[in-house]
């Protein structure tokens, strides 16, 4: 609830306050009119029923009711316009804040929250908040106002009949609270069942090949039926609980009407001696107020359900918004003049989750690593799966920050260097090529925003991507689908390489980034990129053949320690891990 309130306070920010005040003002008018109408019509009934029978009075009052109704519509519409303005704008702001926040999130944050949940937060949870803000200018204010107003009006019209209302309100409130409490626990279980169902469906779609390969269709069907039955049984149960409200409302509202009729018709006239005919208008008005009271109580119960849902959404939103970015610029970040690109790792250790103050037990992925890479040299990194090769290079563009030790570029701690300047100097080509929707040009241009067509073509050629690009119908203007699904794995990798090359970086890191590229293209890339010696090149590879000609090779052992740093020949002598890898690839090779 605290989080919900925090978000709700945005309503009173300067830029929204005028709209908000108007929305609330119109709401108050609206409630007042709804309260006045029954008392006006009471007058008509009294008039019709009286001896005087003045037609003019009836005309006048009829006209007044129509006039008021017209005004009421205007007021409600105005309330709605202001309400929508505030609620949609705040929601859009929330989405924007969330999206901007996502850009700052560290990868451990994203891993923890998961992509699916983040999307749900940006779309569903904000929509939930929109509902709440809308309700805050309607039901949340309207129900209590109408409730109090209707009670007051009923009291003013007739004090004797007021006993009925005094009895009905607390009883009805109590019942509604009990039923809502029961139902909401069922809804929690329902949510779990929905999750179960979605998980099972997701699994079947994702694992379709496996299911067919192992011919387990029937087994899957049986498991699914179980989940499907469970799901629908829970839903039916929840609906049964909610349905209990209906008879209750009917019962109490009918008892109320009956009581009004009896009281007004007999008891009051017996007690006070007033003529019963005088009571006709009062009866009509009382029934109206009674219905308003019951309606607002029901609305309040719905508000309660919505608020509890909104509170969960607000909590999720605030959790994301409250994350403090772990990687930021220092107060006065350095922009290095005449940047050369000398890299030094000094006693670097790293563990995932350390910076965010949790997962301390996970342990260090990299331990006390030191080495120096001279500008324009080519360095290979090798080690078995999970030895920390990718982690090691991701520290350089500060995708993660070191846990201890320091990384220097041209002798300056990289944490002191301007972040966007730092990243501008380094092109890191990831293992899994990440491609965005848009044209091929759009994707390559991400590397250099003002690149002209010539530069783009050249980058594509260097990345051996030109061949397949020219084969497509629109060449560089060919549209790439989201995630690059209309390109093959090798094509995606070459495209992402072109994006990396176009900025002519001082340092390029290739993280096994040609794994899906065919041997011929790979050879071309090799010539264009690392044999050219235009920049410092760091290559992570599985195959020794890819890195054996490097100036230096970094060997990581299974526990994240540096096992060796030197040339191929040196390492064959010095590093046991390197020898082992070498033998696994070339051992028994009689060629």
């Amino acid at each position: 609830m605290k989080d919900l309130f925090k978000i709700y306070l945005r309503v009173y920010q300067k830029k929204h306050i005028v709209f908000s005040i108007f929305a609330i003002l119109f709401l108050i008018f609206d409630v007042l009119i709804a309260l006045i109408i029954p008392s006006i019509t009471k007058g008509i009934f009294d008039e019709i029923n009286s001896e005087g029978n003045r037609l003019s009075y009836i005309y006048r009052t009829g006209a007044i009711v129509v006039g008021i109704a017209l005004v009421a519509v205007l007021i409600t519409v105005m309330n709605n316009i202001f309400t929508q303005r505030v609620s949609t704008r705040i929601t859009a702001e929330l989405r924007k804040d969330l999206f901007s926040k996502i850009q700052e999130l560290s990868f451990s944050n994203v891993d923890e929250i998961t992509t699916g949940t983040l999307i749900t937060i940006v779309s569903n949870d904000t929509a939930q908040i929109q509902q709440i803000i809308m309700m805050s200018f309607r039901a949340i204010l309207r129900s209590p106002l109408t409730l109090i107003g209707a009670i007051l009006m009923a009291y003013l019209i007739n004090q004797q009949l007021f006993v009925i209302i005094l009895l009905i309100v607390p009883i009805l409130s109590l019942f509604i609270i009990i039923i809502i409490k029961k139902a909401s626990s069922t809804f929690l279980i329902m949510q779990e069942r929905i999750d179960d169902l979605n998980t099972k469906l997701n699994e079947t779609v994702s694992g379709a090949r496996e299911i067919k390969a192992f011919v387990t269709e029937e087994q899957e069907m049986e498991r699914f039926n179980l989940v499907n039955d469970n799901h629908s049984n829970t839903i039916i149960k929840a609906y049964k609980r909610i349905a209990n409200i209906d008879p209750l409302i009917i019962l109490i509202s009918n008892i109320g009407i009956g009581a009004v009729l009896i009281f007004a018709g007999y008891l009051v006239s017996i007690l006070t001696g007033e003529a019963r005919t005088e009571m006709v208008g009062t009866i009509a008005a009382y029934i109206s107020y009674l219905q308003q009271i019951i309606m607002s109580l029901m609305m309040l119960s719905m508000v309660a359900v919505q608020l509890s849902r909104g509170a969960i959404s607000a909590q999720r939103i605030q959790k994301v918004l409250n994350i403090r970015p772990s990687i930021e610029n220092k107060a006065e970040p350095i922009i290095v003049d005449n940047f050369k690109g000398r890299i030094e790792y000094r006693d670097v250790s790293f563990g995932y989750g350390y910076g965010d103050g949790h997962n301390e037990a996970v342990g260090l992925t990299l331990k006390n690593i030191s080495f120096v890479i001279e500008p324009k040299s080519t360095v290979g990194i090798i080690g078995s799966t999970g030895s920390g090769k990718t982690t090691l290079v991701q520290l350089l563009p500060r995708l993660y920050d070191v846990t201890s030790g320091t990384i220097y570029l041209d002798g300056i701690d990289i944490r002191d260097i301007d972040l966007s300047f730092l990243r501008q100097q380094i092109s890191y080509v990831t293992q899994e090529a990440i491609i965005f929707s848009g044209t091929i040009t759009d994707n390559i241009r991400q590397g250099k925003e003002d690149a002209n067509l010539e530069e783009i073509e050249q980058a594509a050629r260097f990345a051996a991507a030109d061949e397949f690009i020219y084969k497509t119908e629109k060449e560089f203007n060919n549209e790439v689908t989201q995630g690059g699904t209309n390109l093959s794995g090798g094509q995606r990798q070459r495209l992402s390489l072109a994006r990396a090359l176009i900025r002519e970086p001082k340092i390029i890191i290739l993280d096994d980034s040609t794994s899906a590229v065919d041997a011929k293209s790979e050879a071309k890339i090799k010539d264009n990129v690392y044999s050219s010696k235009k920049q410092t090149t760091i290559i992570i590879a599985q195959k020794i053949s890819s890195i054996r000609n490097c100036d230096k090779i970094i060997v990581l052992d299974n526990s994240g320690r540096l096992d060796g740093f030197g040339t191929h020949k040196e390492l064959l002598k010095e590093s046991e891990v390197y020898r082992e890898i070498y033998n696994s690839q070339f051992g028994g090779n009689d060629e």
Binding site: I44, E47, Q84, R209, T385, D518
Partner: protein, 603 residues
């Protein structure tokens, strides 16, 4: 009700595409939904009955009030019969309305849930029948959206449409009859206002529908951008694209804000307009009623009061029907996609009943031609023969058609021309399932199912003993890794195996295939994500595995296939070279070139 964040991927993303415009298709979808409803005839009968009960008794309430006012309150003498009458009718009406309302709600929720369950079951059955082609062509998100969002839409619509429609009809007819019975003059007043009411309601409904649809589309856009952004966050950061991304997002976000504002404003018109109609009717009835009573003595006060109540009962259902129309549109759009999925051709249609019995494993491709798209041939005249127990390797650049050969062997896709034979018999003469049971495939990207590691290894052979599982895991070099897990073999696999590395998943998948002991083994880049040291170890196991078993190996690292009995080199869908390693190296062709590129520098 049935809402909230699920794991079904981005919601609403595909909510409004592929909406049928033609009336006859719309009718067909409605008929189809009805065919599911039809399975519950007694429930539908009782629902109608319950609604009738509820509607009739709520219609009787104004009558009672009128009688009480006119005959008992508005006269001079005190009549105690009236008290009994009031108490009695309140009890009867309350009981009848409660029963009606409760049963209507519960029965309808039950029927709608069951219909949704049935549709979901049919869709799930269909998931098992769909050819791999369908999964390749349609995105995961789209299929999930059909299975979750669209079925949910049908459920929500059904739960509201049926009872609202029935009760609207009963109330409209009942209210008109009641009004006519009470006073025909005042009824006329109400009916006169009807055209204006209809016009306003239909206008608002259609506008609101249009804007809601727009809102859905914009929401889809926003979701798409968010998803892409998170997936590519690394690149966004590395290339300093944050600002560009936020700009791109802001555009869509503003569009969404606009769309949702418009949808809100228009749909928000409905309630005040209904209230306006109510109030105008009210004052008209009372004014005209007053004149009728005072000047002509044609009506009583009770009658006027009753008509005002009936008028309200008359206007509400009309607006309800308008909203039903919107719900129906949504249900049709959802149903259209769901039934399209259910109606996709099953891959088991026209499948042979003949079971493929024990096979020795001789495989032959005879002049096979194939293309995924009608005029794009991927494989051309593929012709080869593998003797039983032999190992055949397929090499070639990405996109040359290696995996396609496997897709054809397991009949994930069917060939256009030529034949595929096992033990000299055409595989098309046997049932697909019996064929697939003979073939064990380890894929490049492996999917693990929810459950324990043990469940996953046992997946292809549910009755395997623990000892057998451990043996298979040892052969796949994954036993030690599993032993290091927190709960060893009982460790839970999360969401497709995200808590395991790519390499670990491949190893588990190899264990799974070893356990199922297939006659023909297919390894499609099965160790591509495993480091070379582990791979070297697996090679030994694979050596044991392929012994005396026909095996297909597709691999990028040529080292792993050097010992194959037969190597096929594929280029642009054709076999350009074939033979064993020795022969191919001597030939100095494509294979030798590829091999030298990978190893040449070492000599």
């Amino acid at each position: 009700m049935n809402r909230g964040p699920g794991r079904g991927g981005p919601r609403g993303r595909f909510a409004y595409f592929e909406m049928p415009k033609e009336k006859h298709i719309q009718k067909k979808v409605i008929k189809r939904i009805w065919s599911y409803l039809k399975h519950y005839p007694s429930s539908i009968f009782f629902i109608t009955f319950a609604i009738l009960l509820y509607a009739l008794f709520s219609l009787s309430l104004p009558h009672i009030i009128r009688i009480v006012i006119d005959d008992y309150i508005n006269v001079e003498s005190v009549n105690f019969i009236a008290i009994v009458l009031i108490i009695g009718s309140v009890i009867i009406i309350t009981v009848a309305m409660s029963i009606g309302s409760w049963f209507q709600r519960v029965l309808m929720a039950t029927v709608a849930t069951k219909v949704a369950k049935d549709i979901r079951r049919d869709a799930f059955i269909q998931l098992q029948q769909l050819p791999i082609k369908y999964y390749d062509k349609n995105s995961h998100g789209k299929i999930m959206s059909i299975l979750t969002n669209d079925i949910e839409t049908i459920f929500n619509a059904l739960a509201q449409i049926v009872p609202q429609f029935i009760s609207a009809i009963i109330l409209i007819i009942g209210a008109i009859i009641s009004m006519l019975y009470t006073s025909w003059q005042l009824t006329l007043v109400v009916i006169l206002l009807l055209p204006i009411a209809l016009f306003l309601i239909i206008f608002i409904t259609s506008k609101a529908f249009k804007y809601f649809r727009n809102q859905q589309i914009q929401l889809g856009e926003v979701n798409g951008i968010v998803q892409e952004n998170i997936m590519g966050l690394k690149v966004v950061k590395l290339y300093n694209q944050e600002k560009a991304m936020i700009e791109k997002f802001n555009q869509s976000n503003t569009e969404l804000e606009k769309a949702s504002y418009q949808a809100g404003v228009y749909s928000g018109l409905m309630m005040p307009i209904i209230r306006l109609l109510d109030n105008i009717l009210y004052s008209l009835v009372i004014t005209v009623g007053g004149i009728l009573k005072i000047v002509y003595q044609a009506v009583t006060v009770g009658q006027i009061q009753a008509i005002t109540n009936f008028a309200r009962m008359f206007v509400r259902p009309i607006s309800n029907i308008a909203q039903i129309y919107n719900l129906l549109q949504a249900a049709i759009a959802g149903g259209y996609r769901v039934f399209n999925l259910i109606d996709e051709k099953s891959e088991y249609i026209n499948d042979s009943d003949l079971e493929l019995e024990s096979v020795s494993g001789q495989v032959e491709f005879s002049h096979v031609y194939f293309g995924y798209e009608p005029n794009q041939t991927v494989l051309k005249d593929i012709n080869f023969k593998v003797d039983s127990g032999n190992t055949i390797a397929i090499v070639g650049p990405t996109g040359s058609g290696k995996t396609t050969i496997i897709n054809l062997l397991a009949r994930y896709y069917d060939i256009e021309q030529g034949n595929i034979l096992i033990d000299g018999k055409s595989i098309y003469d046997y049932s697909k399932k019996s064929l697939r049971l003979k073939i064990g495939i380890v894929l490049q990207s492996t999917y693990l199912f929810n459950g324990s590691v043990l469940d996953n290894i046992k997946y292809g052979k549910p009755d395997a003993t623990f000892k057998e599982v451990v043996e298979a895991a040892k052969l796949a070099q994954v036993h030690e890794i599993i032993e290091r897990l927190p709960h060893k073999y009982n460790t839970r696999v999360q969401e497709g195996g995200i808590n395991f590395s790519h390499g670990e998943r491949q190893l588990i998948s190899i264990a799974r295939t070893i356990l199922s002991n297939p006659a023909i083994l297919v390894l499609d880049e099965a160790t591509s994500s495993v480091d070379t040291r582990t791979e070297a170890k697996i090679q030994k196991s694979i050596g044991l595995l392929v012994k005396n078993r026909t095996s297909f190996i597709i691999a990028h690292r040529l080292k792993t296939i050097k010992n194959a009995d037969h190597i096929l080199v594929i280029l642009d869908g054709r076999i350009v070279e074939a033979g064993n390693h020795q022969e191919l190296m001597e030939r100095q062709g494509v294979y030798a070139e590829m091999y030298n590129l990978q190893f040449g520098e070492i000599q």
